[in-house]
């Protein structure tokens, strides 16, 4: 038998690769095992034939945690960040200018005047408030959630620091934070704005990927988390030259350069154990790789309910894992297009389409789209989160042609009637009809179409339940409760087992947060082996 590896990382998603980079730089020579033929997980750009390159799943970066981006210095591996001038454009179904959120707040204010003078007047404070709350929350993203059992001195210290920063926010903003945390995003949006389309554009961030509608409590949290990342309440449009997949390609290169080994087409089927310790992993091929440390970048349900022999885990722990909620609600539709779609309100201004495009005309429309999923069917009028990466980076398609990436919500993983194989084209038709309503003539531009149903998000990309965030980011599954209370510190229930995926704090999105935090904890344990 070969000598055990120091570290094996299960899954080459961006978090797995971030962890690999940081562990390799500490001299650990980690081995990354990726099931698919390419690394990147949900953050990949893939060829779709005839010169089209599409963002298969994610179409924007979180963005990466600023300190992490700096530390990894991925520009050395050819990564070039693109920051389109538009953050978000929401076409109005009835024509008109739509909602135009620019990266430059002054541009947004001036454009909002066309739809509501009042909202234009409120926007600057809205923007400022999230910048301020974001700055306060930012340190928590890079923090290991404290142990509630026996908080260490350094944890108490960092909590006290947070307490002081909280007081420094001032009464008004401190209370905003407390009130907004558990609030429905529809209420938050209504506190600021009167235009239904703008409210919907704001609310969209709160429900992205969640089994929740804008009227569900707790849907303001994603806005606060986005603010923690980059100071915004609105979905990011950050990407990279060559597509979002350039990020994971650069991460993989950086990891290799630091001494990591990466194998693709190597699906892990089992984490092996010896007593109360991990012993290694077994691949689908039958190959066994012994390892002292196994780091799972797979989601918690897959990790504990699929990769482990149930006899190796405590029944109480398993029960909680079964109750970990990961009901996926999105499908992905990607298009190769012969030209740029003509969205209402964006005629002759292609730069308006450079960021994200939100389709969902009002808060009630989003809520109705959600209603369908509660009864096990997909919405006939889904809300769509669209990106056309070729606007900012024409190299992704042949000259004059475009690629378009659509996250369609709600499409529940569990259907009451039929299955996703039989209803795929029905879903695609609903998506296309909805786009057509906002961009007449769209269908005639379609060269090629790819539909990824929630069932395929599970079978092809390994997301249990098809959940793109590795599990609901609801109040009961955040921070010290992510994935479950007592196991939020990146350590699994067995010695040598760690989690580094979006099912740990700070959750989903292309941020690198979970990978970086997990790597830090792994290294900490190696320095102080007795502490485990």
């Amino acid at each position: 038998m070969t000598a055990p590896r120091e570290v094996v990382i299960v899954g080459g998603g961006h978090n797995g690769l971030v962890a690999a980079c940081l562990l390799a730089r500490a001299g650990l020579k980690p081995l990354v095992l990726e099931r698919r033929g390419v690394v990147g997980g949900g953050c990949v750009t893939e060829e779709a034939g005839e010169g089209f390159r599409i963002p298969t799943l994610s179409h924007a970066a979180g963005p990466m945690l600023p300190w992490l981006a700096q530390e990894l210095a991925l520009q050395k591996h050819g990564l070039e960040a693109l920051r389109p001038p538009m953050r978000l454009f929401a076409p109005s179904p009835s024509g008109g200018p739509g909602v135009r959120i620019h990266e430059d707040p002054a541009g947004t204010v001036s454009d909002l005047k066309a739809i509501s003078a009042k909202d234009a007047g409120r926007y600057a404070e809205f923007h400022r408030t999230f910048m301020k709350l974001g700055a306060f929350l930012r340190p928590t993203l890079s923090m290991t959630p404290p142990s509630l059992e026996a908080p260490g001195a350094s944890e108490i210290w960092s909590l006290l620091k947070i307490g002081r920063a909280f007081r420094a926010l001032g009464r008004k903003d401190a209370y905003r934070l407390l009130r907004w945390g558990p609030m429905a995003v529809a209420d938050l949006a209504a506190e600021w704005f009167e235009s239904d389309l703008l409210r919907a554009a704001v609310a969209a961030r709160g429900i992205h990927g969640s089994f929740a509608g804008p009227w569900s409590a707790g849907t303001s949290v994603p806005l606060l988390m986005q603010a923690a990342l980059d100071g915004w309440a609105i979905a990011p449009a950050a990407t990279f030259r060559g597509g979002v997949g350039s990020l994971t390609r650069a991460l993989a290169e950086a990891a290799r350069a630091a001494g990591a080994e990466i194998r693709t087409g190597a699906p892990v089927v089992r984490v092996t154990t010896a007593g109360m310790k991990v012993a290694g992993v077994a691949l689908e091929s039958g190959e066994e790789i012994p390892a002292r440390t196994v780091v799972s970048c797979a989601d918690p349900r897959t990790t504990f309910l699929e990769l482990f022999d149930p006899a190796d885990l405590e029944p109480g722990f398993l029960l909680k894992m079964r109750n970990y909620r990961a009901p996926g609600v999105v499908a992905k539709v990607n298009y190769a297009l012969s030209g740029l779609p003509a969205f209402h309100g964006a005629a002759g201004a292609p730069e308006l389409l450079s960021g994200r495009i939100h389709v969902g005309p009002g808060v009630d429309a989003l809520e109705r789209a959600f209603d369908a999923s509660k009864y096990g069917t997909f919405s006939p009028n889904p809300c769509l989160d669209i990106a056309i990466p070729t606007v900012a980076d024409p190299s992704l398609a042949p000259r004059g042609a475009h690629v378009m990436s659509v996250v369609a919500q709600y499409a529940p993983y569990r259907l009451r009637q039929g299955d996703w194989d039989s209803r795929r084209s029905e879903l695609a038709a609903a998506v296309e009809r909805t786009i057509e309503q906002h961009a007449p003539g769209f269908s005639s531009l379609v060269v090629q179409r790819q539909v990824i149903t929630p069932a395929e998000l599970e079978s092809e990309f390994g997301y249990a339940g098809g959940h793109i965030h590795h599990g609901e980011q609801s109040l009961d599954q955040l921070f010290t409760m992510r994935p479950i209370l007592g196991f939020a510190r990146y350590r699994g229930p067995l010695e040598g087992l760690y989690l580094c995926g979006a099912g740990t704090h700070p959750g989903g999105g292309i941020t690198g947060g979970p990978g970086a935090n997990a790597a830090r904890e792994i290294l900490k344990d190696r320095r102080r082996p007795a502490s485990r």
């Binding site: 009464r171 407390l178 209420d187 009630d364 109040l475 209370l485």
Partner: protein, 532 residues
């Protein structure tokens, strides 16, 4: 005119009366002013039709604080509690679920639906009692101000944290889930029987504008278990003579302590001078002066109507405007010639003596909510029925009965039409819904009273018909109730206090807000904070 009272209490609801009683027992001279011709607020018994007396609005008791019963010696003042024996849930297919206070019987009944659930029901009950034990002291706490906690606030916060920390791991997990999850998500972890989950989850949505799948609704499941640990009486019950008998008992205790209670004395304005409350003006122009005014009516009425915006800081006004009411329920009171005969369990059995819950399935409950979200009353609502004349025959002529139907959802804000136009159609919907389960109902109705949310507002002074004086959603609880920074029963107007359900710990016939506020006010008197 010299002040002839120490404190004027506005509103003789059960909280106002409790508040007054505690103040008078501490030697204060107190007058309570009630708009209507009788005391009790929403906890009143009235003879609506000759010979038939109804608990017009609030109809069951669950949470009346045992310390209040004890300290005010309410049994001596005529309070007599009658147990409400279980919950009967008829199902459309001809089956039913009937849970009773007899433990073994309930187990057998649940086992008829699912053996697994019968096992889980015991475990669930035990876990909930533990949770209730944890939450109980919070009810009697004055919330601290997190933006300016002070020493006492920090002490209270530490007390809560330590208590939480000392909970066994499993209880911590349960507690967090209860505080944040939806009732259905929470119950899904325990049970598989749809009707059991539906009927249990119903208690989580009563009086709120939330559905059984809305996060934040699990918490109220605890309320059913509070009574058990109090040991004073069964978890749900009636008062002999109707709910008004509770108010009357408290009023009697208050009067004995020297409180003057004046009915038919509607307050028009609160008099202020130098930023201090100094008395009230009645509708008829009479002025009553006192150094302290305590308002038991909701903040909208207190501040926007009785004080007036011009006397208040703009930001505070904004907070009061933002405070959400969103009444969602109505009430139908029926005088019956005979007993209803349920198709699934015919005859006049014991099942009619408890609550009869029209909550046949989780989807049924959720669909009822969905309609309300878009501004319509539920076409098939959730209905909680009691027939008090079976346990308390004095409320109806011999052989006849009174039936009280609490109905949800009936949104205060209708998208089309007005409640005055839709009142009778709404009443018909309720009767039709019940008649699907008890077909003889239509033939035995002698009289019918339909109370829409608009009627609750007009009749009982509950803004937007919210029975709890404001939504019990997470962002309006504890230190956020009713407004950030003003959760200590004090207000921005010196010497003006709040003591109603719009303060912590909220609505229900609990009495805790009235008592807590009295303790705060008495402490302020003692420390000379009340300048007379």
């Amino acid at each position: 005119m010299a002040a002839s009272y120490d404190v004027i209490v506005i509103g003789a609801g059960h909280n106002g009366l409790t508040h007054a009683a505690y103040l008078a027992r501490a030697g204060k001279k107190v007058i309570v002013l009630e708009r209507r011709h009788l005391v009790g607020g929403a906890a009143v018994t009235e003879e609506i039709f000759p010979g038939f007396t109804f608990s017009v609005a609030s109809y069951v008791v669950s949470l009346l604080r045992p310390e209040i019963i004890r300290e005010l010696d309410l049994p001596r003042h005529g309070l007599e509690m009658l147990p409400l024996d279980g919950t009967f849930t008829p199902m459309p297919g001809g089956d039913y679920l009937w849970r009773v206070n007899d433990h073994a019987r309930t187990r057998r009944e649940i086992a008829r639906h699912s053996r697994r659930d019968a096992e889980a029901y015991d475990e669930y009950g035990k876990a909930m009692v533990e949770m209730a034990r944890f939450v109980k002291p919070i009810l009697a706490m004055t919330p601290f101000d997190p933006a300016r906690p002070g020493l006492k606030g920090i002490r209270d916060l530490m007390f809560l944290l330590r208590r939480f920390q000392r909970l066994p791991e499993q209880d911590k997990y349960n507690q967090i889930q209860l505080m944040t999850m939806s009732a259905v998500d929470f119950l899904d972890q325990w049970f598989e029987t749809d009707v059991l989950k539906a009927t249990m989850s119903a208690s989580g949505i009563i009086g709120t504008f939330l559905g059984v799948r809305s996060p934040g609704t699990a918490y109220v499941l605890l309320h059913h278990y509070m009574g058990e640990i109090d040991g004073a009486f069964r978890s749900w019950g009636f008062a002999r003579g109707g709910t008004g008998a509770i108010s009357n008992a408290i009023a009697s205790a208050a009067r004995e302590a020297g409180v003057e209670v004046r009915v038919s004395a509607p307050v028009a304005r609160i008099l202020t001078g130098n930023g201090r409350a100094r008395g009230v003006v009645l509708d008829n122009g009479d002025e009553l002066l006192a150094p302290v005014v305590s308002s038991c009516v909701d903040p909208r009425l207190t501040f926007l109507k009785m004080i007036g915006e011009r006397h208040l800081d703009g930001e505070f006004v904004e907070e009061i405007r933002r405070y959400k009411f969103r009444g969602s329920s109505g009430k139908v009171n029926l005088a019956l010639d005979a007993l209803p005969d349920f198709r699934s369990l015919p005859g006049p059995g014991r099942h009619l003596r408890g609550a009869i819950s029209i909550s046949p399935g989780v989807d049924y409950m959720e669909r009822a909510y969905d309609e309300a979200k878009y501004g319509r009353y539920s076409s098939r609502p959730y209905i909680d029925i009691v027939i008090p004349s079976l346990t308390d025959p004095g409320v109806a002529p011999p052989g006849k009965h009174v039936m009280s139907c609490f109905v949800q959802y009936a949104p205060y804000h209708l998208k089309e039409g007005t409640w005055d136009e839709q009142r009778e159609a709404f009443g018909d919907t309720v009767v039709d819904t019940i008649a699907e389960h008890a077909p003889n109902l239509k033939q035995i109705i002698l009289h019918r009273q339909v109370l829409t949310p608009l009627d609750l507002e007009r009749e009982f002074g509950l803004s937007e018909g919210n029975i709890f004086q404001g939504e019990l959603s997470l962002e309006q609880l504890f230190f956020l109730r009713p407004a950030p920074g003003w959760a200590q029963y004090r207000t921005p107007i010196a010497n003006l206090y709040m003591c109603g359900s719009a303060t912590h710990p909220g609505g229900g016939i609990m009495g805790a807000p009235g008592r807590n506020a009295a303790l705060v006010l008495l402490a302020d008197f003692k420390r000379g904070r009340v300048r007379t």
